[in-house]
């Protein structure tokens, strides 16, 4: 099976953040990656509005315009990247970018306690 990372074509800063999460369990690095994944999937008409910052309070459907197919894409991207499975019940509890970040963090393991 091909093991190309789904982040392969993402900017180096995002790939470095992912590496930081893997090595240090840095929750800020994880948040950077999750937000980059969400931003990558933004519909073209929404993308221009959020070229700089994507507020974590943004609602995935109502504010960012994701339909069920794009939500399925994002979920699969996260499943593929972190090798986890996300159920429809999990999905129903995710409404905002912050919900998604918190969910991913809880799903893939706790962050390393800060010193």
């Amino acid at each position: 099976m091909c093991t190309v990372s789904p982040l392969n074509s993402f900017p180096s800063a995002i790939r470095e953040a992912h590496a930081r999460w893997l090595s240090d369990r840095d929750p800020h690095a994880l948040a950077t990656v999750v937000i980059a994944i969400v931003a990558f999937h933004l519909p073209p008409n929404i993308r221009a509005q959020y070229s700089e910052n994507l507020p974590e309070t943004s609602r995935l459907v109502e504010d960012l315009g994701f339909d069920s197919l794009v939500l399925a894409e994002i979920i699969f991207f996260i499943e593929d990247l972190y090798q986890v499975s996300i159920s429809n019940d999990d999905l129903r509890r995710i409404h905002t970018v912050a919900d998604l970040r918190a969910f991913v963090l809880s799903k893939i393991g706790p962050a390393r306690p800060s010193a």
Partner: protein, 421 residues
């Protein structure tokens, strides 16, 4: 109702080039697209040459990694549902629209249909199923189905261009896109559509091509210059190619209203199956002979009026022999001697792509006033006795062209084209 359809736009992503001018030049000069090429890192595989397209990097299963040579606006929302050959098809379609003087908005009023042909993407199917199985089918790519099954071209291109006319796909192996052209002509003849877009595309990768190795269908030659030798005594199998070809067909009335440039007219077609074998031709080409007869009857032509036959001949021992016998029965037996060539000596065989690609070659031939040759034909098989198989292309415009295709299951399709000038 019209009897013909005008070919008003062409698009090529091919081993001979990614534009009409390069392709026409290759057909005139005999330039080949076949090179030394490996599809899988295993020297034991007896496939040493192939005819790849250039400028595209689509060998990752992840669409985010793909690149292409032009500045085409291929949005992520379309790209996510495409297979590698869908990227070829998209670029060829953009090229064909520009060539025909059309924009995407011209396709959206219900008078335009879209017929496509490909075998789907075994490569993406393999990847997606392997990924799904690794998780015991607990997760998978939500676009796995629409990007990989046969039909992926029509699903994606119809949605992208917002085509609301007749949309479907054709799956008859190496006759697929020739079938698509025949039925597209019927759509226009029946007045159902004023314009039809016909797309053929295939991938050149291990998953699509190497299953032909156990069939002993591929050439084992390591020499790109002679590996594909249609009608030659030394032929030993086909050389694979990939890419995409797109033809825009319009009713004569629509083409006239738009003052469209007409490459050639499609004036008839016929099909007949061998009823013989799942994978090899009828030994005497019985089905192909009947397909040619039906196409000529549909076009209201006699065999003697055909100037040029673009043969299907893939360089396999059995298939070329069957076609040669069918051609002798159709033409030589009646005292006729049209020029015959198979451009697969230059391109190899594109499976579902080949009919559209080669009909587009015929359109270029008619438009520019030349007849392609058989540049790799060194020692014609004696079975071809009486057939006119020139090595070099001729500076001669065929007025009437017959285009043959044959495929698995003994399917045979013939098209008839008339020069527009």
């Amino acid at each position: 109702m019209p009897r013909s359809a005008c070919i008003t736009g062409l698009g090529f992503i091919s081993c001979l080039g990614n534009d009409s001018a390069s392709v026409a030049d290759a057909l005139r000069t005999g330039r080949s697209g076949i090179v030394t090429h490996s599809l899988y890192d295993n020297p034991a595989i007896p496939l040493k040459v192939a005819a790849p397209v250039h400028g595209f990097a689509v060998d990752s299963p992840n669409y985010r990694d793909w690149t292409w040579p032009t500045a085409c606006n291929l949005p992520r929302e379309t790209l996510r549902g495409l297979a590698p050959h869908g990227v070829y098809a998209f670029h060829a379609l953009e090229q064909a629209l520009a060539d025909a003087g059309l924009t995407a908005t011209d396709l959206q009023d219900g008078t335009t249909g879209l017929f496509c042909a490909s075998a789907g993407s075994a490569f993406l199917s393999h990847h997606n199923l392997t990924q799904a199985r690794a998780s015991r089918f607990e997760r998978g790519n939500p676009f796995a189905v629409v990007s990989s099954i046969a039909g992926t071209l029509n699903f994606n291109l119809a949605a992208h261009y917002r085509i609301t006319g007749a949309v479907t796909g054709f799956v008859s192996a190496c006759t697929s896109s020739t079938h698509a052209l025949g039925y597209a002509l019927d759509e226009i003849r029946l007045g159902r559509q004023e314009r039809m877009i016909v797309v053929g595309a295939e991938e050149l990768n291990a998953d699509t091509i190497l299953p032909f190795v156990p069939m002993r269908a591929l050439s084992t030659s390591a020499d790109p210059a002679t590996a594909s030798r249609p009608f030659d005594t030394g032929r030993d199998g086909f050389v694979p190619t990939g890419g995409a070809a797109v033809l825009v067909l319009e009713s004569p009335a629509l083409a006239a209203r738009r003052s469209a440039r007409i490459y050639a007219e499609l004036i008839g077609w016929g099909q007949a199956a061998d009823g013989h074998s799942v994978a090899t031709s009828h030994p005497e080409g019985a089905g192909l002979r009947e397909a040619m007869r039906r196409a000529l009857r549909d076009a209201a032509l006699s065999p003697g009026e055909i100037d040029y036959v673009h043969a299907h001949a893939t360089s396999t021992p059995v298939g070329d022999r069957a076609e040669a016998l069918a051609l002798r029965a159709t033409f030589s037996a009646l005292g006729h001697r049209p020029v015959i060539s198979s451009t697969k000596g230059q391109t190899g065989h594109g499976l579902s792509l080949s009919g559209a690609l080669e009909t587009a070659f015929c359109a270029l031939s008619s438009h520019h006033g030349f007849t392609p040759g058989n540049p790799t034909l060194l020692n014609p098989d004696p079975i071809c006795e009486g057939l006119d198989l020139p090595r070099a292309s001729l500076s001669r415009r065929p007025r009437f062209t017959l285009k043959n295709s044959s495929g698995f299951g003994g399917a045979n399709v013939s098209l008839v084209l008339r020069a527009a000038v």
